[in-house]
């Protein structure tokens, strides 16, 4: 457990989770499609790429280069997967959310949010 404050943005969290779901087979286009499929919201290539680069720089993701294909005119792909550190960060974030939910429900036993 690190002492540093770990801030994960909402979109970044979704990206990381999706990369986790794809289990190492995720690359630019497939990550984008998966997010769109799972969440129903449009993701632009630019936003996705920026988030991924940032996550990689922070050490939450790691990548390896893959073969290119004809449909990409030979351009290579970059496959991403979640690092152990990244997994820790995700768990921490989830735990934080859950904690807040618990506190809220304990204060309002009759609230319609149950």
């Amino acid at each position: 457990m690190s002492e540093r404050k770990i801030k994960l943005g909402e979109f970044e969290e979704i990206v990381m989770l999706t990369v986790g779901i794809l289990h190492g087979t995720g690359y630019g286009v497939s990550i984008k499609k998966e997010i769109e499929r799972l969440t129903g919201r449009r993701v632009s290539v630019g936003a996705l790429q920026t988030a991924i680069s940032r996550l990689e720089k922070k050490g939450y993701l790691r990548s390896k280069v893959g073969k290119g294909s004809q449909v990409r005119a030979g351009r290579p792909k970059r496959y991403y997967e979640v690092t152990a550190y990244g997994k820790t960060v995700l768990e921490q974030t989830r735990d934080l959310r859950n904690h807040l939910w618990t506190v809220m429900s304990s204060l309002n036993p009759n609230s319609s949010l149950q």
């Binding site: 630019g28 290539v45 630019g46 790429q49 449909v71 990409r72 351009r75 290579p76 792909k77």
Partner: protein, 861 residues
């Protein structure tokens, strides 16, 4: 699948800004998405989505940092490029000289015209409150349309400043062009001829002339006060630093008296008309013309608006001001900025219609065109030449030269050339500055301020870039494998483009030549047109005080045909009035008449034709008689005019005769209705004398003796009336001269270009020509084959340019009321001229080519 590429430009753009590490991965993603979208949604949608994607990829994390683009252009490379350019010049001297000549001429043109334009644009802008200085003009509706005149009632200024809060000051001015403004100052030591101006109080609040002596808020309060210009003060009193309180005698045809100097002003530079030497109180004018009613329009009105008031607000307020005073529904007022009067002084039917600004724009555009033509020459020649350098480029690329360095190399040459041409052009400008100044009537010079140098550098640089961009772009694009073989993919692509450029050059040149012909004809026409009065052999000169004896003595000189008082100032819009009443006048449609004042015998001297009745004759005082011109009679609708009495501004006058219409204004306008009144002889400020042809010198000698005997100490300063008339059309004469130079330049440059191009193209085709010769072609056939393509180009150019020049000429000529007709032979002449020149340019080359010995050329096959 492979054929379905996304737009290359988009991908290139992306590659340009994207960080290299990320680039190929992201590009792959984009391509993948593109293929999918292509299938699912079609090409257009796929393209559009790709564009959006790329645009949204412009983010900080993705854009590469500037340091990443390593510059491989070091000092050594720079030297290499310059060396290469210099060698290029030496290797192909003819081409280089052609380019140099062309670019220098183009640049000289542009520099001279820019100087002229700069001067024109700064005229009349010398006053600090330029933004708030306006002149009030009047639009009056009459049967002939809406007239815009400068003349306003003298009551206007005081009323405006009293009643309209947006106006801070208003003044009435009688400008120096009026007859009553010419006079002579005599002090004890000197006698000087001066031009005066009558200004109402507050003049210097409106026009803040700097005062060298005296307080400008306290001058001209008394009728005998006068302010003089610095130059006049020097003339009269030398270097005396305090001339306030000095008096002198001033004599004009309307005032005589002693006046006291209460101020000395400095005239600002760059005024459109020469300023007055002395300024007198407006009250003097009011004394002379006591009837200053609302319908008597004579002086000019100038106003200064409050800070922050715009022209629109001003105009809204004053528009109906005059209507409210006179009840005359047909006149509206509007204000035009004083400094705009010079360039935007033309009005048609009450609406602004340009004026001198049209000439300014025209000259500026034409000089740019000429520069473009010479730049086009350069492009043509260098694209053609660069075909020889394909191998060099192939080698460089194979070794790994980045595209950028090739571009720099190909830009270095034209930029160097431009700068050299710039230097040459500046030198040429210096040399020709005097002649140019004489042509334009200005005093221009190239002052090498840092601003000027900066502008010149920018011009030089941009010419170089424009000229070099296209060849640089094409050449740097070659693929090394193909270039090393000495080929260029799509060589036809180059040829078509070059052809189009040549056509453009010739279209412009033909347009210019046609315009020279048309302008020439029209200017000749203007100069020779019979205006309805005699201009030849008529001299006029100012007279301090007219008298009967002077008139009869001059008339008695045998070499003199006629001498009369006054003179006819053509073109100047003097005063006028709509306050003319006659029996049967239709009060609904007021007519604005020009009023001309003449002296005794002037009508005869100038040779106005009387079609009915008689002229004033030799009567000394014919103040109650008036002559009316044909247009006026027609508009007034009087059936039997001779003998009838009309009222002009409350003066009763009897019509004694009708004159044939004569052009007292410029030939841009139709003849307007005009009344001619005869002033008493003492009022004539000048005289006109018609001299028998061939006897000019004797006549002038005798006239001078008579003049001097009447006015000792005076100089007999005479001018020819037709010279003055030429002055009126100074702009047109300027256009004629400049058009000649422009056309000449354009043609020379275009022919130079054609010459260079044909040189190259014939060289390319030398083998083909020899083969043809061997196979039995005659010389004629060879010539027609070689020149065929050029002839085709010229024909296309002719087809495009002739209708265009017809249209332009027609439009210009119809701005004149009186003009020559556009005749077909103008264009025929221009076309013939061009064709002949073309043959000269390429002819020699062609003939030389046909004489080549095939054996020498075909040796290496």
């Amino acid at each position: 699948m492979i054929g379905n590429h996304p737009p290359r430009l988009l991908l290139k753009f992306f590659k340009w800004f994207c960080h290299p590490e990320l680039h190929s991965f992201i590009e792959g993603d984009l391509l993948e998405l593109y293929q999918e979208r292509l299938i699912e949604q079609g090409r257009n949608r796929a393209n559009w989505l790709l564009t959006l994607d790329i645009l949204f990829l412009l983010r900080p994390g993705i854009i590469k940092s500037i340091h990443l683009s390593t510059s491989q252009i070091t000092y050594d490379m720079f030297r290499h490029h310059i060396l290469l350019s210099l060698r290029g010049f030496k290797k192909d001297k003819t081409s280089s000289i052609i380019n140099l000549l062309g670019l220098s001429s183009g640049l000289t043109c542009v520099i001279l015209i820019l100087l002229w334009v700069q001067d024109e644009v700064s005229i009349d802008k010398g006053f600090a409150n330029d933004h708030y200085l306006f002149q009030v003009l009047q639009n009056t509706r009459s049967k002939t349309g809406i007239e815009t005149i400068e003349a306003t009632p003298s009551l206007l200024a005081p009323s405006l400043s009293a009643e309209i809060p947006e106006i801070s000051h208003a003044v009435s001015v009688i400008p120096p062009t009026f007859n009553m403004c010419k006079g002579i100052i005599s002090t004890r030591e000197k006698i000087v001829k001066v031009r005066a101006q009558y200004v109402s109080s507050g003049f210097f609040d409106v026009f803040p002339y700097p005062f060298v002596q005296g307080d400008r808020t306290q001058v001209l309060l008394q009728k005998n006060e006068v302010v003089i210009s610095q130059t006049l003060a020097m003339k009269l009193y030398g270097d005396d630093l305090n001339v306030l309180g000095r008096t002198f005698e001033w004599q004009s045809q309307t005032n005589n008296g002693l006046f006291m100097v209460v101020g000395v002003f400095d005239t600002p530079e760059r005024m459109s008309s020469p300023p007055a030497d002395i300024m007198l109180s407006f009250a003097l004018y009011e004394n002379m013309e006591p009837d200053q009613g609302w319908s008597n329009n004579v002086p000019r009105t100038y106003i200064r608006s409050q800070q922050g008031i715009t022209a629109q607000q001003l105009n809204k307020k004053i528009r109906d001001f005059l209507k409210s005073k006179t009840g005359d529904q047909e006149s509206t007022l509007f204000a035009q900025r004083f400094s705009d009067r010079y360039l935007y002084g033309k009005f048609e039917n009450g609406k602004p219609a340009g004026g001198r600004i049209q000439y300014v724009r025209l000259f500026f555009l034409t000089s740019l065109l000429i520069l473009i033509i010479s730049a086009v020459n350069f492009v043509n020649l260098s694209t053609a030449r660069s075909l020889k350098r394909i191998k060099e480029i192939g080698v460089k690329k194979a070794i790994g030269a980045p595209r950028r360095s090739l571009i720099v190399q190909f830009l270095a040459e034209p930029i160097l050339l431009s700068f050299l041409s710039l230097v040459i052009a500046t030198l040429v400008c210096y040399l020709f500055m005097d002649q140019f100044n004489r042509l334009t009537g200005k005093d221009l010079s190239i002052v090498l301020t840092s601003k000027t140098i900066a502008i010149l550098l920018v011009i030089g640089f941009s010419t170089g870039i424009i000229a070099g961009a296209y060849p640089a772009g094409i050449m740097s694009r070659l693929r090394p494998n193909i270039a090393l073989k000495g080929l260029m993919l799509n060589p036809i692509h180059g040829a078509l483009f070059r052809q189009r450029l040549v056509i453009f050059q010739f279209v412009t040149s033909i347009l210019l030549v046609c315009s020279v012909v048309v302008v020439y004809k029209q200017v000749r026409f203007i100069q020779e047109k019979n205006l309805g009065f005699d201009r030849d052999q008529v001299i006029h000169f100012d007279v301090p005080k007219m008298n009967v004896a002077l008139l009869s003595e001059m008339n008695n000189v045998p070499e003199v045909l006629n001498a009369g008082g006054g003179d006819l100032i053509t073109g100047a819009k003097l005063g006028g009035t709509s306050g003319i009443e006659w029996k049967g006048k239709n009060t609904e449609n007021p007519i604005f008449f020009s009023v001309k004042w003449v002296g005794p015998n002037l009508v005869e001297t100038i040779g106005l034709t009387i079609v009915a009745g008689k002229s004033f004759g030799q009567e000394i005082n014919a103040i109650n008689k008036v002559l009316v011109n044909e247009t006026a009679i027609n508009m007034m609708g009087i059936s039997d005019p001779i003998g009838q009495t009309i009222t002009i501004n409350q003066d009763q006058c009897q019509i004694v005769g009708i004159v044939k219409d004569f052009n007292f204004e410029s030939l841009y306008e139709k003849v307007k209705p005009c009344v001619i009144r005869c002033a008493p002889i003492e009022y004539a400020p000048s005289m006109s004398v018609k001299i028998r042809s061939g006897m000019e010198s004797t006549a002038i000698e005798k006239l001078q003796k008579i003049y001097v005997s009447h006015f000792p100490g005076q100089v007999f300063d005479y001018r020819y009336m037709d010279e003055d008339y030429q002055q009126l059309y100074a702009s047109e004469t300027l256009i004629e001269a400049l058009a000649k130079y422009f056309a000449g330049l354009a043609i020379i440059i275009s022919c130079l270009g054609l010459f260079g191009l044909s040189l190259f193209s014939i060289q390319q085709r030398i083998k083909e020509t020899c083969i043809r010769k061997v196979l039995g072609a005659t010389t004629i056939q060879l010539i027609s084959v070689l020149s065929g393509s050029f002839v085709k180009l010229i024909l296309i150019a002719l087809v495009i340019s002739l209708p265009l020049s017809y249209w332009i000429s027609y439009n210009w000529l119809t701005t004149f009321e009186y003009h020559v007709m556009v005749e077909w032979w103008y264009f025929g002449l221009a076309a013939l001229f061009i064709v002949v020149l073309m043959f000269i340019s390429i002819g020699w080359q062609t003939i030389k080519a046909t004489r080549v010995n095939p054996a020498e050329i075909l040796r290496n096959e």
